[in-house]
């Protein structure tokens, strides 16, 4: 055992209790705030008792009775203050919060014994990691290195409490601009992939890239220092970028260029377009309706469309038969209904199948509007290109880049992706047993105040019920105090990077000592404070820089390519499917063809992935026909046939 570094002291005013104690050390000591120490009960009448604590506060003072005495002793001259031949007796006095006592019963005040710096085994004991680190089925996930007091002991999280089912979810807070939040999640995902216990099955991660190029280069190696590599080695996590990453990004409004910053020619081949049609969108129509829109009538009409119309052969009652599969089909149906009400019914009725025409117009406008606002993500016409539902792969990161998508579209992507994950995890059909969903900017998506949006409700639902399904939320935000308290409250594991002092002054941080808050406010990059169900006190850890290329560095090393003309973009996408295709073949084929037709054919080829891509594309494009004079398209906002009465039915 190493030499003691301090001794517990207790006075009537500051006694030792079962949860806190005070000790002193030499002036020169390696410990500081966050250091883990061990107190031995030996020779104090409490043989066998060992107490582990984490330093939560520090004090230094001398035997100076009043500051005035120092002034007198220096004759009022501060430059003389250091001339005193004898150094005043001073003390380094520390307060520590108890992490664990052995034996745990009876729970007694901390013995007034000698204090030691905790070694690796002590850290494991203190943080109760022994129970999941050395069990028959270990569930330990390294989160970083405890580096106080000159030590570097690995700290582990319990997978049962990080990824379910006991507890789940992780929340990370910290000021923006230090890359700590994103880096910590990237490292932790690498750690989870390396250490997720075999008996718990398969795991994947789905990350929404909501700002800039943050998560666009997870498959590219970053620069690591020797110190970082040593830390990876110590933690047993490979210092290599993610081996399996699938990137998804919507198309831009032109329908062929990808709406992402990962468009460098060397990388764009790995990016799958994410496009959805009516079928994919209508189930989440609620997301598209604003607060004023949500009423029972609109809901009923959407349900009607969903149950009776979409994907079925449907008689509109005015002699027309429809099979609605796309937004264009839906628009045709609406036009047919409105025409029918005006022409067939002679404008005498303003209801159709119990639905008032105003309700139908509102729903029509909202649904068709999404294809305009989110053009590229939502296709007016044509097939969709989606995430590989039911085929999620083990230890794979799925990145959905929605950084440049309209906020409404972001909500739609988020709602649909998470709902599909939940649905498939419930049915055990996803292909993996657990999915970590990383959402940054929770301040935006799950604010503590503001309207009850569909996305917020969904985040609450994951937070409260996801752990039973294996749907785990890793959320990040700048201001934890402003995120919905049930979202942060349900996070079993909480990480804190450098925090803003104003944020630390909010009530949620009252449990922290002033010293801990000061440390949090000045925390260096790469250091975190961790709260985890097994840890009775917050612990500071240091994690290595993620082994992947940071977004900012990524766009420097792989500058995004400029948007290419329509025909070049089509060529590029087809060549990605079949490298034998020559650009001129494609350009000749699509010359003078309507872009809508080309997009549709391209999407069909992308979805089908035939052996002979060019032949398939040619067939899908159809025979060249003479261009027709464009049919005057009616405005989406169809004027009402009759003045709207108060009675919608």
């Amino acid at each position: 055992m190493s030499a003691p570094i301090g001794r517990v002291v207790a006075t009537e005013l500051k006694p030792a209790t079962p949860h806190q104690f005070h000790f002193w050390t030499a002036t020169e000591t390696s410990i500081g705030i966050g250091a883990i120490v061990k107190v031995e009960g030996r020779a104090t009448g409490d043989e066998g008792r060992v107490v582990y604590g984490v330093v939560s506060e520090g004090f230094a003072y001398s035997d100076l009775a009043t500051p005035l005495h120092d002034v007198v002793g220096s004759e009022g001259d501060p430059t003389r203050a250091a001339d005193a031949p004898t150094v005043r007796q001073q003390i380094r006095y520390w307060t520590a919060a108890v992490l664990r006592q052995t034996p745990e019963e009876p729970l007694q005040p901390v013995p007034l014994g000698q204090v030691y710096v905790a070694d690796d085994a002590d850290v494991a004991q203190a943080l109760r990691m022994d129970t999941f680190l050395h069990s028959a089925t270990p569930t330990a996930i390294p989160v970083g290195l405890y580096t106080s007091a000159g030590r570097a002991a690995p700290v582990y999280l319990d997978a049962d409490f990080l990824l379910g089912p006991e507890a789940a979810h992780l929340n990370i807070s910290g000021v923006s601009g230090l890359a700590t939040k994103t880096s910590a999640v990237e490292f932790l995902l690498a750690s989870i992939f390396a250490h997720f216990p075999a008996h718990k099955g398969r795991v994947a991660a789905l990350c929404f890239n909501v700002k800039g190029p943050d998560l666009c280069f997870l498959d590219q190696p970053g620069d690591l220092s020797d110190e970082d590599r040593h830390r990876y080695e110590r933690l047993g996590v490979p210092s290599t970028p993610f081996q399996q990453v699938r990137f998804y990004a919507p198309l831009k409004a032109d329908g062929v260029n990808l709406n992402t910053l990962r468009t460098h020619p060397d990388l764009i081949g790995d990016v799958e377009p994410l496009t959805w049609g009516l079928q994919e969108v209508v189930d989440y129509a609620e997301v598209l309706l604003n607060r004023d829109d949500i009423d029972a009538k609109a809901d009923a009409f959407i349900d009607f469309l969903r149950d009776r119309v979409l994907g079925r052969t449907f008689d509109d009652g005015f002699g027309g038969t429809h099979r609605v599969q796309t937004f264009a089909d839906l628009d045709r149906l609406f036009r047919s209904i409105f025409d029918g009400l005006e022409i067939t019914a002679g404008g005498r009725s303003d209801t159709w199948r119990t639905h008032h025409i105003a309700t139908m117009r509102k729903v029509r406008n909202r649904l068709l509007n999404i294809s305009t606002r989110c053009k590229g993500l939502v296709t007016d016409d044509g097939p969709s290109n989606d995430l590989p539902w039911k085929e999620f792969e083990d230890r794979t990161v799925y990145v959905v880049d929605i950084a440049n998508v309209d906020p409404l579209g972001q909500d739609l992507v988020f709602a649909r992706v998470v709902s599909k994950l939940r649905e498939q995890l419930e049915r055990r059909e996803l292909g993996v047993d657990a999915v970590v969903v990383f959402v940054d900017e929770l301040n935006k998506y799950a604010p503590g105040d503001g309207p009850e949006t569909y996305v917020k409700k969904m985040l609450l639902d994951i937070s409260e019920r996801g752990r039973y399904l294996g749907l785990v939320l890793f959320g990040a935000e700048q201001f934890r105090s402003q995120v919905h308290r049930r979202v942060v409250g349900n996070a079993g594991t909480q990480l804190f990077g450098r925090m803003d002092m104003d944020e630390l002054a909010t009530p949620g941080y009252q449990v922290l000592t002033p010293a801990t808050k000061s440390k949090l406010a000045t925390l260096p990059i790469g250091e975190l404070m961790v709260r985890h169900p097994h840890f009775t006190q917050p612990i500071f850890v240091r994690f290595p820089k993620p082994p992947v290329l940071r977004g900012r560095d990524g766009v420097e090393r792989f500058p995004p390519a400029a948007d290419v003309p329509f025909d070049d973009a089509v060529v590029r996408q087809l060549v990605r499917l079949d490298r034998r295709i020559r650009p001129n073949q494609v350009k000749d084929l699509i010359a003078d063809r309507p872009q809508e037709d080309v997009r549709r054919a391209l999407a069909a080829a992308r979805r089908t992935r035939p052996d002979d891509v060019l032949a398939y594309f040619r067939r899908a494009l159809g025979a060249r026909v003479a261009p027709e004079a464009p049919v005057a398209r009616e405005h989406h906002a169809v004027p009402p046939l009759n003045p709207i009465s108060d009675e919608p039915y």
Binding site: D63, L64, V72, A81, D83, P85, Q89
Partner: protein, 331 residues
Amino acid sequence: MTWWQALIDAGAIPAAYVPSASAGGAAGADAESGERADLVEDAEVQAHPIPQRAAARIPPAVSFLNGIERWSVRAYDGMVPVVDAYVAAAVRRRDERGILHTILERSRSFAVAPAERMTAHLRAVLEQAAPDIESIDGELVGQPARYLEKVESTVRRARAHLERDLAEASSDALGPEEWLVLDGLLSRSPAVARHPRTLGVIKSHGAQFLEGRGLERALTLPAGHRTSVFAVRGGHTRTEVYSWYLRLWPWEGNDLLYGLLRIEARAHAQTIASASGLSGWLWAERAPLATPATRWDRLLYPLHHVEAYLTSRAPRDLGMRRASRLPRTGT
């Protein structure tokens, strides 16, 4: 079980009397028995300015010696008080960073009792239970106040003996550039008094060695001045030493003895030559202030520090006065 508990169990009456002087350093610890002083510098007592702090040469290594005493009446055998006493002394050496480290330390716990005045039974119990007994003359038992004064002087003598032993051991081991500063009379030990690098710092002035104009000059010495050096013969060993007064803090507005120290050094011509330099060094020792000690104006911080060190290691129940001496209710 402690010896006094054994005594009480055997029939002695429990007691708790802590003399006021025992609660801290004894006020009369430096009581001197001075006789005469012969000026060895100047024709009459002069006030010499001492070098400013910046010019003072502080030895690189200095050891400081101090001691404490604690005693308390623990039990009565009839009207005979049986006293529990503790004395301790330590030498702490100041390193180049200005931090003090203990290099020598000694303590003694003992009982003080007039064995011949005790009942045979309790005397036997005491002799069996107490490992160290200091016998005291029992003549004054009938006069409790005077008896306690006798006890106090016995304990003080034990402390002085301890300090002298430590001073001799410490001065023997002094390095070539190292000095020893002790709290009290240098002249208790001939060996220490003759050492070229030892100083005694006397804070109480129970005896005056000067008279007339010389005494007035000494007692009205301005701050930052010393008197002329004079030779004194004092202490039990009657070893001659050279001495001078030194004023650390202005006395105006306080009293004549405020901030006044008497320094003792070996009786040697070199002492006269270096008196101002040594005074400059001690003047520099004013900082840091020896607060919260009440005698901080005359107590050098390192000596205060040694006392604080010894106090922290002394038995806690000795010197702890009860808050109230009201009869206990038994509830």
